[in-house]
Point group: C2
Chain length 326, copies 2
């Protein structure tokens, strides 16, 4: 590995000049050429650790998500990455696995590595962002609200819950259940509230048996669906609180010979890699990629010194009703 000193020597200039060539302050054309040539010949790459140590910041942003195996989050990651890499930043993807300790470990690393900022979908309401915020580094919360005064990008969760439910009502289903993620995650609670809204607006009673909080994973959807099917009075339709719950619910229904639309299903979020006929299930599409793009742009603005008060962007969703053309 060659250093800035090697380049300086070969080019016949001082190390300071080499640095200036790469950081864009005034250097004469001939020296610029000499330095670039020398750098190429030596295959010089600046040592990031040294640069970070001196400047106290690195062009890296951390993206912390609770489940790397959920396509919703990887799609979002793509959005973040596209924006960030265009701006010369690299993205470090950290999988907190929805565990608070893993999450805070990654946040510690972000601090110790002097990363420029953090985009995080928190593991829970009680996630502790104090240390990272204390450093003054910008933080953008995605998908979920936090207890902190930071920028955020969320889906219109309550509206999504309502649309999904209304579509099932419109299709004539009578007993519509809801399966959501953990109640302590606001995303899950809000979507459930939307479900409740839709039913109430129709003057229907809310049967508490039909409201299930589970995990945001396939197994959670499966377990809750099994429970619902075991009820004395079965639901004839179900709203799935996220994509994976939807998958789990449909799996169980299929195994019981109740493939949609035998039982109505509406999913909040796109079904990943689905092989179902698109007309069988209602899908409320969530613009995950767009959420990532928005969050990354907000973070970059903050990194560049934007000081305006914290903003929260709410993204609207599109409903793709069952039975509709693709």
């Amino acid at each position: 590995m060659s250093t800035i000193y090697d380049v300086a020597e070969l080019a016949g200039v001082s190390p300071a000049t080499v640095s200036r060539v790469f950081n864009g302050t005034s250097v004469s054309d001939e020296k610029v050429a000499a330095v670039r040539d020398a750098a190429k010949r030596l295959n010089f790459t600046p040592n990031r650790a040294a640069r970070t140590l001196r400047t106290q910041n690195s062009e890296v942003i951390a993206l912390v998500i609770p489940d790397i195996e959920n396509p919703y989050f990887t799609e979002m990651a793509r959005g973040v990455e596209d924006v960030a890499s265009k701006a010369g930043y690299s993205v470090v993807l950290c999988n907190s696995d929805a565990q608070l300790d893993k999450e805070s470990t990654y946040l510690q690393i972000a601090i110790a590595e002097h990363m420029s900022g953090v985009i995080i979908a928190t593991a829970s309401e009680s996630s502790n962002l104090d240390p990272i915020i204390a450093t003054g580094r910008p933080v953008v919360a995605v998908d979920r609200h936090t207890a902190y005064d930071v920028d955020g990008v969320v889906m219109a969760n309550r509206a999504a819950g309502t649309s999904a439910t209304k579509d099932l009502i419109r299709a004539g289903y009578r007993r519509i259940a809801y399966i959501g993620g953990p109640a302590h995650i606001d995303t899950a609670a809000e979507r459930a509230a939307g479900w409740q809204d839709a039913l109430t607006a129709e003057g229907r009673e809310i049967d508490p048996e039909l409201l299930r909080f589970s995990t945001f994973r396939v197994d959670g959807g499966r377990a809750a669906m099994e429970e619902l099917l075991a009820l004395p009075e079965r639901p004839d339709a179900v709203v799935a609180g996220n994509n994976l719950i939807g998958v789990g619910a449909i799996q169980v229904l299929t195994e019981h010979g109740l493939t949609p639309p035998a039982v109505g299903v509406a999913v909040i979020g796109s079904l990943p890699f689905t092989t179902l006929s698109p007309s069988a299930v209602t899908v409320v599409r969530l613009p995950a990629r767009h959420m990532g793009v928005t969050a990354a742009n907000m973070l970059l603005e903050r990194i560049r010194g934007d000081q305006q008060p914290a903003r929260t962007v709410v993204l609207r969703n599109q409903v793709h009703a069952a039975g509709a053309a693709r």
Copy 2:
């Protein structure tokens, strides 16, 4: 952010002693206690950039994959992460998007950041690993072979292709097509060779029309399946070269009213988040997580100084035949 000097002052020792406390060389018990106490009071976290600059290596490993949206790779990533984080290493996930330039950018970053090693599923046969290998940092290739003399972990691809095909033969299908990834990726070519083996072993002719190379993505599977269905002499079964091709093929078949087993389908790799009845499709399960675990362990051994000649581990697969119990 407090530094080692602050801690030293508060504890009444020299910075060198503080460093020694955290790196486990001989320090008297009382000073250890004093330092730990001071560190806790100041909420001290060592500055990684400084540490990396001095020691010329950081406890970070890079994992470079061609498609972060493919569950096969994220499952592998989980395996890598579990092993690495247990050993005190963090994992940086880099998405090369199957593009050589993005791939080499990430490898440059790995070098400049002094990362300890790299696990990579190369974008293509012509991936250039020279720079990273020149630094002497260990590299482990996963999923795909490389032109370099490095450790590797791959699936038994040819055998997987053969098993998948044989199962369709056993089920009585006559005209079995194959849709694989890009021909320039050895994984794709080997699986296709396995398909050919199985047919030849049965004394069947190979119709070149039935062999399609596409991309390892859903749209690739869709396009190739459409082409196959448009042939004058349609196939009555198809082997999908990876999970996403399988999804695409099944989608198209469903849209044409040919849901498996109307047309036989065997997939190399698990169908992600499938809602199909498990008896409809043959699946050759690939131990993706295990691949990640193995690769991470190999890499850690190398990082610790293991000098033995390069090894390649081949992982066997399990067939789950259509119609079999779960």
